[in-house]
Symmetry: C2
Subunit: 405 residues, 2 copies
């Protein structure tokens, strides 16, 4: 007998037939004697409709009202799934964020969970009642509904699993696990049986969309064994676990890519102390995040600086910098949205040399020019022209021995 948290995303609860299927899936765990909490998203499409209404009602919307409106989607699914479970004879009740409560900070629209009061849930679960929890939502200290940002139901599920000290958190979704890379691009991509928290975190933050980054951070922090699996097929998915649980570590576990970044180069910037701060200050003021940054070696007192921002922020970033051209003293500003960031990820890098070198060599052999390089302990990322995305992914997948047999 174990305590489990199961999370079902929007496509898994898209209509009543699918909700009934979810109920059957949950019932199996109950019948096996487990204590079960279920976290649900809104029916797919519902959140988009609600967000569209909010945007139509008020262009600069009050995030507290946004949260009130948008959180209703998960409320509906939670009630419906509780009913579908009761219809199968399973004892179940719905829980909204404010009822548990799931306490968050007051950053409406992207709140962070601070505390989950699990006393009553644990009591009820011990009595055999399934807790059906509305994901994505919490209660601020202002006593108003908060939401956790897009994909927030993953975070709700992992945070609940941590608070309940659950044995496992199963994230049911429309893919059957975490792959070595995007199988829509690389036909030979393999599903991973296990992946470490650290690698999953890099995969998520480098562009793999299978889990929300924040949820992986939480899983890592609280050591929540998290499984990503399909709600439409009955087979094991990918377990995100502690490094110790993985006996045979690959050097490289996966290759992620992200097309949502754009590159900006400032040519011939005066190379003096404080120039970097002067450049990135205006971007911070405009709430624009900068990802990769490289600065060339100085020549004759001038240098080039290249960095990336989210593609959606490119125009605003260019405007913010052009407004300060005199002050910053650069000669030219070259924006380029036509780039992709490709990242090779693996905890094995810590103990193996030559991982980065293999990446550079492989790309060079295909004639792909590397524009920017950044590295971390378990990751090497390069920026290349977007048109090489598929070619780069396939070549690297083969080079690191990841191809399926």
């Amino acid at each position: 007998m174990a305590r489990l948290v199961l999370k079902f995303g929007g496509t898994s609860v898209a209509d009543m037939e699918r909700i009934r299927n979810v109920a059957l899936r949950v019932k199996r765990e109950v019948d096996a004697g487990h204590e079960v909490a279920v976290v649900v998203s809104a029916m797919s499409g519902v959140t988009n409709q609600l967000v569209a209404w909010v945007t139509e009602a008020c262009r600069l919307h009050d995030a507290r009202e946004y949260d009130t409106v948008v959180a209703s989607g998960e409320q509906v699914t939670a009630g419906l799934l509780a009913l579908a479970l009761q219809n199968l004879g399973v004892n179940a009740r719905s829980w909204l964020g404010w009822q548990i409560p799931v306490m968050t900070d007051d950053t409406h629209g992207k709140a962070r969970i601070e505390d989950i009061d699990t006393r009553v849930l644990i009591e009820r679960m011990a009595q055999g009642q399934v807790a059906v929890v509305a994901g994505f939502q919490g209660l601020g200290s202002d006593k108003r509904i908060t939401t956790l940002g897009r994909g927030g139901s993953d975070t709700s599920a992992v945070a609940l699993a941590a608070a309940l000290k659950a044995e496992r958190c199963d994230i049911f979704t429309d893919v059957d696990g975490v792959y070595t890379t995007d199988p829509r691009i690389v036909a030979k991509a393999r599903k991973l049986d296990k992946i470490t928290y650290e690698e999953m975190l890099e995969m998520a933050s480098q562009g793999a969309k299978v889990l929300q980054t924040r949820s992986v951070e939480l899983a890592m922090k609280y050591r929540v064994r998290t499984q990503v699996l399909s709600s439409f097929e009955d087979k094991p998915g990918t377990l995100v676990v502690d490094e110790d649980e993985i006996v045979e570590k690959e050097i490289v576990s996966g290759i992620a890519y992200n097309r949502d970044e754009a590159k900006i180069t400032l040519q011939s910037v005066a190379d003096r102390p404080g120039v970097a701060a002067a450049i990135f200050g205006p971007l911070t003021d405009a709430a624009i995040n900068v990802d990769m940054i490289v600065q060339n070696v100085s020549a004759e007192g001038h240098t080039d600086i290249t960095f990336t921002v989210a593609k959606a922020d490119l125009d605003r970033a260019v405007a913010a910098l052009r407004g300060k051209q005199k002050e910053l003293g650069f000669k030219a500003l070259l924006p380029d949205p036509g780039v992709v960031k490709v990242s090779v990820i693996g905890v094995g890098m810590r103990s193996h040399a030559g991982v980065a070198q293999l990446m550079f060599k492989t790309l060079a052999e295909k004639g792909i020019n590397i524009q920017v390089i950044t590295t971390s302990e378990i990751k090497v990322s390069v920026l290349v022209a977007e048109e090489y995305t598929e070619l780069a992914l396939r070549a690297l997948h083969t080079a690191y021995g990841l191809d399926a047999a």
Copy 2:
């Protein structure tokens, strides 16, 4: 400067364009210097969709989950209207039932309001903030969402107006007031400027659908001046007020009709003490409400009993009684769904004789047979064959001098 409660029904907030119109209407009252609370229903169609999902999820549904799901409709509208008001520069915030809180009993699905904590609302309204309140919902002592039953937003509005000691409660709807009778049937029907609480209560409970009966009871109990008016036309509606406010009282104010009842006659029932209890006991056990009842004078130790039930309950009522035919000892059971109840209503009846007589004479002249008669202090109701509905309404409307000039 007055304190006002405005209530907008489902058709008045059916889409974003209409919600923006409601915001403009509310702004006018704010600009006039009034303190305003607004109560909203779900966008029309939304509640039906939610109820359909609940029914699909579980045939014998848990009313607590029903409430959780269905209350989301008003939550969405409240948030959107608060945003639409902010978009016009009006200070506004949404309030859900559990946030105020609107405390109710635990009769989920048709809860009764027990208390509304208005302290914070009054404070905010005094500071110029419009309170946008989700109608139809409250909080049970079980800390779960309750709903007030169909049309419950009217009740929310009147109860809030009573708790806030508001000067007036305006119920905006898709008709422009209360009419002497249904204008779709009687072209000469007149809109009433004023009607007493007692008359409105009879009109509502005898079939006029313009206000929920429970809301009129509350308005009467707490003497809330309540106006029914159109959200699509800019003109005064009908004021529901105390009798003292109406100088020129009509003898008859309106004529209501109800096609939702069915008649059952039990022929030749043994006329002995306890027989009525024996007949209506099984119906009570089956939660079937009985409305009109007549018992004929006994002949040779036997009598006929006729009564009406809701048309939707007819089959169940017949089954319940046939199962007890031996015990009850009636000869025949005659069900008849083809009836209509027509009621003539007016506080003037208290002081004027001959009101009932005029009704009987008018119907007789048109050759309409009266099957059952019941009376109260301010109402005479008759049951006639349904096919005479239009004829009876028009003849009575003329006979009581209600026709528009």
